[in-house]
């Protein structure tokens, strides 16, 4: 053991909180962002901070499987999915501004309420957890809820998909924070699901545009019975 190790460990524990905050701020940024291209950049950044947080937790708790899941997350959410999304918006030619159903300030206010709610909810649960990152459970929960909110307020298909993916980020972080990671089997399953999901949604979006000449999901309303 080196003499500086305690200080480094404190620093690292602090850095988990930093990355977690980054996650939350990025979630807010995504709600506020109108441009799809920037949205993808933000999503990539969120993935990166998730990877960093997972790595730190892995180092501090000395759990090897967290390294693997960090690697999977990196490959998937920082490299593969952003590339897929970039190709998607290139081919769909949808780099235009996005519109939202509610105006942005209202959405942000609702988001703040959600964050307070999430923190309130997480406090008793965090007390039960033994993980070093337990303080961040509230943040994780808040980013899940914020991403969900984003899915609700967006009218176009691509931002909705990004909201869905970002929700998965929050979920993953919650798992790392509360229980130092899910079993490897579950993690692999989810990773695969997300990948397949994005491929299917990509195909789906092409179909939507083919049918309605637009990616606006409000066109789907007429698919209702009667």
């Amino acid at each position: 053991m080196f003499f500086w190790e305690p200080e480094v460990n404190t620093l690292l524990t602090q850095s988990i909180n930093l990355f977690a905050t980054g996650l939350l701020v990025l979630a807010f940024a995504m709600i506020a962002q109108r441009r799809i291209l920037t949205l993808i950049h933000l999503f990539t950044l969120q993935g990166a901070s998730l990877v960093a947080a997972t790595l730190v937790v892995a180092y501090l708790t000395d759990q090897h499987h967290l390294y693997y899941s960090a690697a999977i997350t990196f490959v998937l959410k920082v490299v593969l999915i952003p590339i897929l999304l970039h190709r998607l918006i290139d081919r769909l030619n949808v780099r235009w501004d996005v519109e939202t159903l509610f105006n942005i300030p209202t959405t942000m206010l609702i988001g703040i309420v959600l964050v307070i709610f999430a923190f309130n909810l997480a406090t008793p649960i965090a007390g039960l957890s033994a993980s070093i990152a337990r303080g961040t459970l509230g943040i994780a929960l808040a980013s899940v809820l914020l991403s969900f909110l984003m899915m609700i307020v967006r009218a176009k298909a691509v931002p909705q998909v990004i909201g869905f993916l970002s929700m998965e980020n929050g979920l993953f972080f919650a798992a790392t924070a509360a229980t130092s990671g899910m079993p490897m089997l579950v993690e692999l399953g989810i990773a695969f699901d997300v990948l397949v999901g994005i491929l299917i949604l990509g195909v789906f979006m092409f179909q939507i545009r083919e049918q309605f000449d637009s990616l606006d999901i409000r066109h789907l309303e007429k698919l209702k019975e009667e």
Binding site: L101, F148, I152, Q160, K222, E225
Partner: protein, 667 residues
């Protein structure tokens, strides 16, 4: 290798044949000439192994399949072995027939049919082997699904799709009840193996709950009143070998389930369970036979006849429960022996009859009795073999149906010894009603055989009807000889059934029967009652021979050849003979309150008079349609939630999530 291993190998062989069928999807010849006969050989092997396992100790195995830490447990004991014997023996005949039956261009490609058919067989075999609720339910559902796809083989016909969905619906409602029943049986231990359920002793309340759930669940599969509605729809919709398999074999898995749960997993019985089964069985039998007598579609007629036979089986089991609950084990064994005898006998004769209708259908393209007739001359093989099935089905000696019904009535004669005066009054009425059912079943069978095979052809195209092919004949012969052999030599089979009753109630009637000799079948004492099919057959043959000789001697040279049913008219057309509607008319009159009829009677001044009658089920209008309407009303209310906007849908789940989280916080 132990019996169970061999059985697993054979069942695996069935699945392998199914996969080969997928590879040879449209090679009808390969599927029909190679795969189906191979399946029949496997079925025969299965029956042989099951027969030898019946006389051996129970065996268990754990299959490395299923979920992690939740493997399939299998157990081969007397009860499973007996039902495996039924599946194998009847399945062999049906598979041979199917080899000659399935042809090009009938809806589903033959390879796919081959897969569904063999998966169906394999799942039935595994249902009776399952030794935990998990394996049982998986196999049970596989059985329901594979048979659903077989029923809807001609899915382009809307009526067949409807029949299939109705079947699937009832099957699933039944499966839910069975699942709940297992939930009660495991008594909160969390261990769903049958061994654990056997070890539990439930309070009378919970035991009754389990038994009622089992009766409901298995009753839905068996077609007990009022859950019978799918049967007369699904059987005519399915291809004939499938109808045969469903009616002859699959319904028996429900009987297996009742026996397994009622006698094996529940360790004590209450008398009113038996009374309930008795009442349900009687109502079902009466209902089935009355409806079968008024049908005009040959497969629907047989389907209703299956309902009747299932009713008789329930009556037998109910009587067994009743005797057992009062500690009269020997009599309980007698009643159960009757029921189990009927299981195998019905498997043979009903499969035979359904396959016979298949041959008729292929030869003529007609299912309606009003357009058939006189086929005995055109299709002598099918005609004579079906005649054997008809005789067995009517419960006439010396065929198998008689033995079962005779044993059942014998066990009824002992009900006076029941220590319950209420039952003592009621049970003779039930016995009389059973006798009525047996007689009406004969009536329905006379109608079935007479209208299809006797008289004159009602349509011109019937003259070109071809007799069944060689493989079809082989299947029919196998099943018909089963009816004959089981009818003539009941004592060895009773020895086999004895193993089952020993397992279920600890005693059997085989030793009594053996003491009385192999020639005479006497379930209790020789003085009380005995039946010897061989002597009966010999006497009958002798009497017939004697009559023929006498006729030849006394009326020699005065034999006149004339058209049948001539009544002395010089010109006789096919329209002058009795029709299916006409034959069933007395029954329709007598049992009018049972039946819902819609008639169109022609007026006397009609140029082209049309008579039309539609027979419907009261229960359909009184029970099912109200349920369907209520469901639809609720569904429409739920439909208001559907706004068509994704944001709204997301909001629903978002709000649900928030509410759930709030509940967590509040705690």
């Amino acid at each position: 290798m132990a019996h169970l291993d061999w059985i697993l190998v054979l069942v695996g062989g069935w699945l392998g044949l199914g996969l080969l069928g997928i590879l040879a999807l449209r090679h009808t010849d390969f599927v029909a000439r190679v795969l189906f006969p191979a399946g029949a050989a496997i079925a025969l092997g299965l029956a042989a192994i099951a027969l030898s396992a019946l006389f051996d100790d129970p065996e268990t195995a754990v299959l490395p399949l299923g979920l992690p830490n939740l493997p399939f447990h299998l157990r081969l004991d007397g009860l499973s072995a007996y039902f495996l014997l039924v599946i194998g023996a009847a399945g062999a005949g049906i598979s041979v027939f199917a080899a000659g039956y399935f042809r090009q261009g009938e809806g589903t490609p033959p390879g796919l049919l081959c897969l569904e058919y063999h998966v169906f067989l394999a799942s039935m075999a595994l249902v009776v082997l399952a030794d935990d609720a998990y394996a049982f339910m998986v196999m049970w559902e596989t059985m329901a699904l594979s048979s659903f796809f077989l029923v809807t083989a001609n899915h382009r016909v809307p009526a067949i799709r409807q029949a299939g969905f109705l079947y699937l619906l009832v099957a699933h409602i039944g499966a839910i009840a069975i699942l709940l029943c297992f939930g009660v049986l495991q008594a909160n231990t969390g261990d769903y193996s049958f061994a654990n359920m056997r070890a539990q002793s439930l309070s009378p309340l919970w035991a009754s709950a389990a038994f009622l759930l089992a009766t409901f669940g298995f009753g839905a599969k068996a077609g007990i009143l009022p859950l019978h509605v799918w049967l007369p729809e699904a059987h005519p919709a399915a291809p004939s070998p499938v109808s045969a398999l469903m009616s002859g074999v699959m319904l028996k898995t429900a009987i297996y389930g009742i026996l397994r749960i009622g006698f094996d997993l529940l360790n004590a019985q209450l008398w009113w369970w038996g009374a309930l089964l008795l009442a349900l069985g009687l109502a079902t039998a009466l209902f089935g036979v009355v409806f079968s007598a008024v049908q005009t579609d040959m497969k629907r007629l047989l389907a209703y006849s299956s309902i009747e036979n299932i009713g008789l089986l329930f009556v037998g089991i109910g009587l067994g429960v009743l005797f057992n609950a009062y500690g009269m084990h020997a009599l309980s064994a007698l009643a159960l022996t009757a029921a189990l005898y009927h299981v195998i006998s019905h498997a043979f004769f009903k499969s035979l009859l359904f396959l016979g209708t298949g041959s008729v259908l292929h030869a003529t393209g007609e299912r309606s009795l009003g357009k058939l007739g006189g086929l005995m001359r055109r299709m002598p093989w099918v005609g004579w073999l079906v005649l054997i099935g008809v005789l067995a089905s009517s419960g006439l000696p010396p065929l198998s149906g008689f033995v079962a019904e005779w044993l059942l009535l014998q066990s009824f004669l002992f009900t006076t010894e029941l220590p319950n005066s209420f039952l003592n009054m009621l049970v003779p009425v039930v016995a009389a009603a059973i006798a009525l059912v047996a007689a009406l079943a004969g009536y329905a069978m006379v109608k079935f055989f007479g209208v299809i095979f006797l008289g004159q052809p009602r349509e011109a195209k019937l003259a070109e009807a071809q007799d069944a092919s060689l493989l079809e004949r082989a299947g029919l012969i196998w099943l018909a000889s089963g009816c004959v052999v089981l009818g003539l030599f009941p004592v060895p089979l009773i020895g086999a059934i004895d193993r089952v009753t020993q397992l279920l109630i600890g005693t059997g009637i085989a030793s009594t029967v053996r003491n009385n000799g192999w020639l005479l079948l006497a379930p209790t004492t020789l003085e009380r009652a005995s039946y010897s099919p061989l002597i009966f057959l010999a006497v009958t043959c002798l009497a017939v021979l004697l009559a023929v000789l006498l006729v030849h001697r006394l009326y020699h040279g005065r034999v006149r050849f004339a058209p049948p049913w001539d009544c002395g008219y010089p010109a006789q057309t096919a329209r002058m003979q009795d029709t299916a509607e006409g034959f069933g008319q007395p029954i329709r009159q007598i049992f009018e309150p049972f039946i819902r009829m819609r008639r169109e009677l022609p007026s006397p001044f009609d140029e082209k008079p049309i008579y039309h009658v539609r027979i419907e089920d009261h229960l359909w209008h009184w029970l099912y349609l109200p349920i369907a309407r209520t469901t639809e009303r609720f569904a429409r209310l739920v439909g208001r939630l559907q706004q068509g906007r994704i944001a709204i849908y997301l909001l629903y789940s978002f709000l649900t999530l928030l509410v759930l989280l709030l509940v967590v916080v509040a705690k």
